[in-house]
């Protein structure tokens, strides 16, 4: 079930090891190739190494062992830093930690302004980035008055204004209410549909179930890797890994135990359809 490494890989982890204290390896020989344009969810309990993994993608951390390459650029080579960071943008957990300006347009412009872009281009990038996260017309609003979900979308707009090709979200929805979480997920889906590679670190199964690929980390190693259907239907294994099981999988399994012939579904709509077929045929 492990996906084979292809040449088209955008982000390449080769036997990556990382330790904060010199003893415990938080990442332990992790090899993983993520393809351009994919939507990948990284799952795992606390301490599984998921955030450490995320920080390797834009060289906030560099491996102690092995190599991480983004677009074939080695993250350990300082000459590549600028290239890597402008290609891989990151959004973190706490909405209040990431905004740097008091007006939304200033915040979104912060990154590209530092690139020394001309004003007209700067304006255009701010406007289009805000539109992409569904906040068009919010340029003159104050950042402190936004909801948590809106703040996270401003943070994403700030990243988009740098024209990256990879967006890494490190539990960016953990502190949001259900509405904020849905909005964030929709923005990510839309960006992905237009070609952006999305790497989402999360605890939420509804986010994992819509990804192209789900990777589960455990103690710094890859425990599971595959499509949502392959990974999320392994209910016993997920419980062992201290992860939740999507409701549709849980219900499918319970029904199977009572002898009802349904497949194990990840998405509720698919389970519903199968149940209808089963129970409604004349």
């Amino acid at each position: 079930m492990t996906q084979t490494t292809t040449n088209a890989a955008l982000i390449n982890f080769e036997e990556v090891g990382f330790t904060y204290d010199g003893n415990t390896f938080v990442l332990d020989k992790v090899s993983l190739a993520l393809e351009q344009g994919s939507f990948v969810c990284i799952l795992g309990g606390n301490g599984s190494g998921k955030s450490t993994f995320a920080k390797h993608i834009n060289a906030l951390l560099v491996p102690d062992e092995g190599v991480v390459k983004v677009f074939d650029a080695d993250t350990r080579d300082e000459e590549n830093l600028y290239f890597i960071r402008s290609n891989a943008g990151m959004v973190f957990q706490n909405p209040d930690d990431q905004l740097v300006a008091s007006l939304i347009e200033n915040d979104v412009a912060f990154g590209p302004e530092n690139l020394g872009l001309p004003t007209a281009e700067l304006r255009e990038r701010v406007t289009s980035s805000l539109a992409e996260v569904g906040l068009q017309g919010f340029e003159k609003n104050e950042t402190h008055a936004l909801s948590g979900g809106q703040k996270q979308r401003v943070a994403i707009a700030g990243v988009l204004a740098m024209n990256p090709s990879i967006l890494v979200l490190d539990e960016a929805s953990a502190m949001l209410d259900p509405r904020g979480r849905k909005g964030l997920l929709r923005v990510c889906q839309e960006l992905n549909a237009r070609g952006m590679t999305i790497v989402m670190i999360t605890h939420f199964m509804e986010e994992a179930s819509i990804a192209d690929r789900v990777v589960v980390l455990e103690n710094g190693r890859i425990a599971l890797d595959g499509s949502p259907e392959e990974v999320l239907t392994q209910t016993e294994k997920l419980k062992d890994l201290n992860l939740e099981v999507p409701f549709a999988c849980e219900l499918s399994c319970e029904l199977q135990q009572l002898g009802i012939p349904v497949s194990t579904h990840v998405l509720e709509d698919n389970l519903k359809e199968e149940l209808c077929q089963l129970l409604l045929k004349a």
Binding site: N46, D177, H203, N242, F247, G259, T264, L280
Partner: protein, 319 residues
């Protein structure tokens, strides 16, 4: 202790006094624009020993409401009664403060002391207890959040994991020996394992006799835990009832952007598609049971094993 809300309204930007006086004939909340009111005409009684849920969107008034329960906020109209006595009375307010433990969202952000012991001991020390009594409080509080006293008491709280930090913050509130515990999104931001641990911890505290008020966005948790649920909408009391009564009204909840627990949602959508499920409250066990009964009715019980085997081989194929 019981806490009664009688027509409680509250505003963070109260209308000018003059308006309130001239509006005697108008509703209690005067003629200020609706958006000004964080709470509007709230009426319910929190009974002793209850597990009481509060649901509603961000900005619906949940946090404002719980701050009325121990007198942190006083209503601009209406009354809050603690065991029948008005909380605007100083003595009653003091009693409410002592009896009601309020755990805010992300309570670990409020840890401040250099050791776990000092942090948990802060409240009891402020009550003027002697050092032996304080010590007993701290030990008991740490035990009730399942932290080992010897392992953690000398540690700096900031060296602990997020879940453990939150336990320490809980212990700090429990050390005041409240009879009512108000929890604002107590499991937000925790990983699934820590979430389960915490929910069990809260269940145990309730079983040991505490009244629990549980504010959450998670309809699954509210359905699983609560005796009654209050749903707020823009500061107003939108629904109040048992989980069965509240979650039977999926359409109304959806209209204000809230959902129902997963099993209920599945049951309702199957019924809408024509599956003969009775209208009722569903958890996973009930739904499984009803679907199994329907299936037996349709197919008889003999052939179920065969068709199950043929289906199993199709698992994991769809991508």
């Amino acid at each position: 202790m019981s806490i009664t809300f009688e027509g409680v309204s509250y505003s963070y930007h109260p209308p000018a006094k003059k308006t309130a006086q001239t509006a005697a004939a108008k509703p209690a909340w005067g003629n200020a624009p609706d958006s000004v009111w964080a709470l509007k005409d709230i009426n319910f009684t929190l009974e002793e020993g209850e597990f009481f849920g509060i649901a509603g969107h961000t900005g619906s008034g949940k946090s404002t409401l719980i701050q009325h329960m121990n007198g942190l906020l006083q209503p601009h109209s209406g009354r809050v009664l603690v065991d029948g006595r008005d909380i605007s009375d100083k003595k009653t307010a003091t009693r409410a403060r002592a009896g009601v433990g309020l755990v805010f969202q992300y309570p670990e952000h409020q840890l401040f002391a250099a050791t776990v012991y000092d942090d948990v001991a802060f409240g009891p020390r402020n009550l003027g207890l002697g050092s032996e009594e304080v010590d007993a409080c701290v030990r008991e509080a740490l035990a009730s959040v399942a932290l080992d006293f010897d392992t953690v008491h000398e540690k700096n709280p900031f060296e602990l994991s997020g879940g453990q930090q939150r336990r320490v913050a809980f212990a700090g509130v429990l050390a005041m020996k409240p009879t009512t515990l108000i929890l604002d999104e107590p499991v937000a931001g925790l990983d699934p394992a820590a979430r389960t641990d915490f929910l069990n911890l809260i269940k145990n505290l309730h079983a040991s006799g505490l009244t629990v008020v549980f504010v959450s966005h998670s309809m699954n948790n509210l359905a699983r835990l609560c005796d009654r649920i209050l749903v707020l909408k823009e500061g107003e009391q939108f629904m109040l009832g048992t989980p069965e009564e509240v979650f039977a009204q999926e359409a109304s909840l959806k209209a204000i952007g809230l959902g129902v627990p997963s099993a209920q949602r599945m049951a309702n959508s199957l019924r809408q598609a024509g599956v003969a499920l009775p209208e009722s409250f569903y958890d996973t066990a009930r739904l499984t049971h009803e679907l199994a009964a329907l299936y037996q009715g349709h197919h008889g019980s003999q052939d179920s094993q065969d068709s199950r085997d043929s289906h199993d081989s199709h698992d994991h194929q769809s991508t």
